[in-house]
């Protein structure tokens, strides 16, 4: 049996299973009960590489279902993994519903509960052409022969579904892969990611070739850069790493109201970011479904920051209820799911000239708020990072620690954004393969602070 046939089977099988189980569960509700049901499923092959060889390979087939019961003003949510067999899974889910009912009987009232509504119906399926499991390793390692390559191939089907007792029904299935990798010359390394829905040997070779070119630049003499403030170019992937912090409380309405937002000053119009900066949630990127866990739909394009001013925070319906705000389809965590950053005027070919003397950073690493009230972030440089003088790459640097406020880096210190932007698909695999990602240009920032 070919792997391609097996994968198509999985989408159909999970859809049918979800429909059967959810119809049954919804038919068992009492009059004063409302239910939201979510399914998250995947059929994935993970292959981990070290030294262009296989460290571990893991096939994972999983179907997880969650039910949220709202009854008598109380809210209870329970989820479990399912074996995929209707005879076994139906009683397992009825048991879950019974447990929810038991808790409803003893929990206090939930005043911030949002009543369940029918937010409509949607269905999207994206089929891909992936390598058969047996062919993955050969296809990855052959073009990389002679490279010290480390990384992860993940490929297969990812499914999200949602329905509720008001008749709402959403479905999203996609068949994709990514090869998130880095290549090494001793301690020096360059990072790449090849992702898509159709594996092409030619595309993989050219992707690897670009990363090899970057690695070759690291062979120049290593530069000893002292801590200090330097003009710095963040390549798109590095800028995406920096903007990733916006998903860590900065754009969350709940975090703002609860005193936890590093963007309180921005939210209260006490400050603005650079007029060069505009950020949207843009579901047209096609990386993730528009519906959230309650089945609410975000606008296809939702402006978050426009020319440096905050247009809106991400507001979930629960936060909206508690603080009397307008909800905008945000997920419960109120982080961006499909961040799209507007490009600027700096051509890729002019980046080194515009940088003049300073640092060229391909990637950042391990970011964290160091002083949240000041929106200050610390992190490290990682992979291919260079010292540049007079518009020419002089040589690679040793990793540097930096510590900089986003109010500055995205504000008065932001000099230019590039005309080109890169899509950075989510490659998270905690618990399950993630959906989503972002699209960001490169950014030229003046006087970026390096501390160690």
């Amino acid at each position: 049996m070919s792997a391609a046939i097996r994968r198509e089977d999985f989408i159909d099988r999970v859809r049918e299973h979800f429909n059967t189980l959810s119809s049954y569960l919804l038919s068992q509700l009492n009059v004063d009960e409302e239910l939201t049901i979510n399914v998250a499923a995947e059929e994935s092959l993970f292959v981990r590489f070290n030294s262009n060889r296989v460290r571990q390979n893991t096939d994972v087939e999983q179907i997880g279902i969650s039910v949220r019961l709202q009854s008598k003003g109380r809210t209870v949510e329970k989820s479990r993994s399912l074996g995929g067999n209707a005879e076994a899974d139906r009683p397992a889910l009825m048991h879950l519903l019974a447990q929810c009912r038991d808790e409803v009987a003893v929990l206090p009232l939930d005043p911030n509960q949002v009543s369940i509504e029918n937010n409509g119906t949607s269905s999207e399926e994206f089929r891909g052409t992936l390598l058969a499991a047996e062919d993955v390793v050969g296809a990855v390692v052959s073009p990389a022969a002679g490279c010290d390559l480390a990384g992860l191939y993940a490929g297969g089907i990812v499914i999200r579904g949602n329905c509720n007792s008001k008749g709402q029904r959403h479905w999203f299935a996609t068949e994709t892969f990514f090869l998130d990798y880095s290549i090494y010359n001793g301690p020096q390394a360059a990072k790449g990611c090849y992702a898509g829905a159709r594996w092409s040997s030619a595309e993989w070779k050219s992707n690897l070739g670009r990363t090899q070119t970057l690695l070759a630049l690291l062979a120049k003499p290593q530069q000893d850069v002292k801590p200090g403030a330097y003009r710095t170019y963040l390549a798109p992937r590095a800028f995406a790493d920096l903007l990733g912090m916006l998903g860590w409380g900065a754009l969350s309405a709940a975090a703002w109201k609860q005193g936890r937002s590093p963007f309180k000053k921005l939210a209260e119009n006490e400050t603005r970011l650079s007029p060069l900066l505009s950020i949207d949630e843009n579901f047209a990127l096609g990386l993730t479904p528009r519906f959230n866990d309650l089945g609410e739909m975000s606008a296809t394009r939702l402006p978050l920051i426009e020319e440096g001013a905050l247009k809106t925070l991400l507001v979930s319906s629960r936060t909206a209820k508690e603080y009397d705000l307008g909800a905008n389809g945000a997920s419960e965590g109120e982080g961006p799911r499909a961040m799209d950053v507007k490009t600027g005027a700096l051509a890729e070919a002019d980046v080194l000239q515009a940088l003049g003397t300073g640092l060229y950073l391909s990637n950042l690493h391990y970011l964290n708020w160091s002083d949240p009230v000041s929106a200050r972030v610390t992190g490290m440089t990682r992979y291919a990072c260079f010292w540049v003088e007079g518009g020419e790459i002089v040589g690679p640097i040793r990793d540097l620690r930096w510590d900089e406020s986003l109010y500055s880096a995205l504000g008065s210190k932001l000099m230019a954004l590039t005309t080109h932007a890169e899509i950075d698909p989510a490659v998270d695999t905690y618990y399950r393969r993630a959906l989503g990602g972002s699209r960001t240009p490169g950014a030229l920032i003046d006087d970026f602070s390096f501390t160690l």
Binding site: D59, Q62, V76, R80, G83, K191, G259, D399, Y430
Partner: protein, 476 residues
């Protein structure tokens, strides 16, 4: 929690027709999250993750397939997938393994607890969380008062074709109370956590209230406090920050799979080299660090790792000298170095990798007052709030919730936004005092691996004194 019976014998027998060795790791984990915020229920959720990892050895390469279909045909299908993929990948394996990396093991483990978590009612938990939330209501400036509990009940049963049969049952808790005080643009959060292998006995209303009230008061103090001063000075770290210091700058760099390069594309490599074991002066002679899976109530205690290796206490660093790495039997045979039983997976759907477990800094001889008494000018810091370190585990920067100045051997006023930075080996060689009273902490959220895994780790440590460290405060 009861182990369910899965048809492991038949599934293993059939797999052996196609492989040299096979195993099944059944895992069932129920995680319950309950949270009260500002005296209202915020969430009441639970999840059950139940499934089996089918493991095969084909052509000297271990490969895996995970399924939640625990019927014989479900397990057989997973074995078929594992065998087909592993047959195709084994020609490209990093190392030729043998069943020696999966020793025969039999036995059972059960977390120490006075009262099973199953015996705890929803009302009892909610009552403690609500009491904590209410106890934090000292002022309108306390804009967010949260009390959350995560209860984890785990069963891991491991069966292999060479006769292993281990059954381990865990009760674990992670309780966090947090108070945020805000005024104008300023805001400060203070928290208290209680983490480990405990049962229902941990839900003691009085303890919740006492800690809730204390952190609420401390959050208000922080709101009015000056920023932590900047400059080089002595630093006393309390156990709830030592935990993070140990985790990031000892635990991760000693993981043998990192040293072998497996993790280079994700969490990173390590400054520690294979030839450093037995030689490297990692820290001052006061530094003794153990891997201790046998400590009752610490979060990552267990009897067997997920490769059937019996877990024993081992010294990693003695009198400041690096002795042993955190590597499973697979990493040990690849590197030729001694290791520990730390081949652990996050769930039924992930393959085991080298993880930390309980990594503890052994107590010294000083009281806390004696440590403070040795400081002319410095800061004492409590409770981690910010963490960042490079991919070789050298240059770190950590921040804490709560600081107090020390002048001429006396603990003084509270300071906010205390941070410090340093480089790992240089920093540990500045260790000049180790307390005698250890506290046990841990985190349920250590991330690593490809595909990624979140795992639980424990860290016991006394307070410690470090000399001449770069300290700094916030901007606001």
């Amino acid at each position: 929690m009861l182990s369910i019976s899965i048809p492991h014998e038949q599934a293993l027998q059939r797999a052996l027709q196609f492989t040299d060795w096979a195993a099944i790791r059944y895992s069932s984990e129920t995680t319950t999250h309950r949270m009260v915020r500002n005296d209202r229920p915020e969430s009441n959720e639970s999840s059950l993750e139940e499934g089996a990892m089918c493991e095969v050895l084909v052509g000297g390469h271990f490969g895996y397939a995970a399924t939640a279909d625990l019927s014989l045909s479900g397990l057989q299908r997973a074995f078929d997938r594992a065998i087909a993929t592993t047959r195709a990948t084994s020609a490209h394996k990093v190392h030729a393994f043998t069943p020696d990396q999966r020793p025969r093991a039999t036995g059972t483990y059960c977390s120490a607890r006075d009262r099973d978590l199953d015996a705890l009612s929803v009302a009892e938990i909610t009552d403690c969380l609500m009491a904590a939330s209410q106890a934090m209501r000292l002022s309108d400036l306390l804009v967010n008062r949260s009390a959350r509990a995560m209860l984890v009940q785990t069963q891991i049963d491991y069966f292999s074709s060479n006769g292993s049969e281990t059954r381990q049952s865990f009760n674990m808790l992670d309780i966090t109370l947090a108070a945020t005080a805000a005024e104008g643009l300023e805001s400060q959060t203070r928290s208290w956590s209680y983490t480990g292998q405990f049962g229902g006995e941990a839900f003691d209303r009085a303890i919740f209230q006492e800690n809730a009230e204390r952190i609420a008061r401390e959050a208000l103090d922080l709101l009015r406090a000056d920023n932590c001063p900047s400059g080089r000075m002595d630093l006393v770290l309390m156990p709830d920050q030592m935990m993070l210091q140990i985790h990031e700058s000892i635990g991760h760099p000693l993981e043998l799979d990192r040293i072998l390069g497996d993790e280079r594309n994700y969490a990173g490599w390590s400054f520690v080299k294979q030839e450093d074991f037995g030689h490297l002066q990692y820290g001052s002679p006061l530094m003794n660090v153990s891997f201790d899976p046998g400590r009752a109530h610490e979060l990552a205690s267990y009897d067997f790792d997920d490769g059937g290796n019996r877990a024993t206490r081992e010294m990693l660093i003695e009198y400041g000298v690096l002795k042993r790495g955190l590597g499973s039997l697979e990493s040990q045979v690849r590197s030729g170095l001694p290791g520990v039983a730390n081949f652990r997976s996050a769930s039924w759907n992930r393959a085991p990798i080298d993880r930390m477990a309980n990594i503890n800094l052994e107590p010294g001889t000083s009281s806390l007052d004696e440590l403070i008494g040795q400081v002319e000018h410095g800061v004492l810091m409590r409770t981690n709030r910010s963490w960042s370190i490079d991919d070789y585990r050298n240059k770190f920067q950590f921040g804490c919730e709560y600081g107090q100045l020390i002048e001429n051997g006396v603990l003084g006023k509270v300071v906010r936004n205390p941070n410090y930075r340093g480089v790992t080996v240089d920093f540990w060689n500045r260790l000049d005092g180790v307390g005698r009273a250890a506290e046990t902490h841990g985190t349920a959220f250590c991330g690593k691996g490809e595909p990624s895994q979140i795992i639980r780790v424990g860290h016991a440590s006394p307070p410690c004194l470090f000399r001449d460290v770069e300290v700094f405060g916030g901007l606001s």
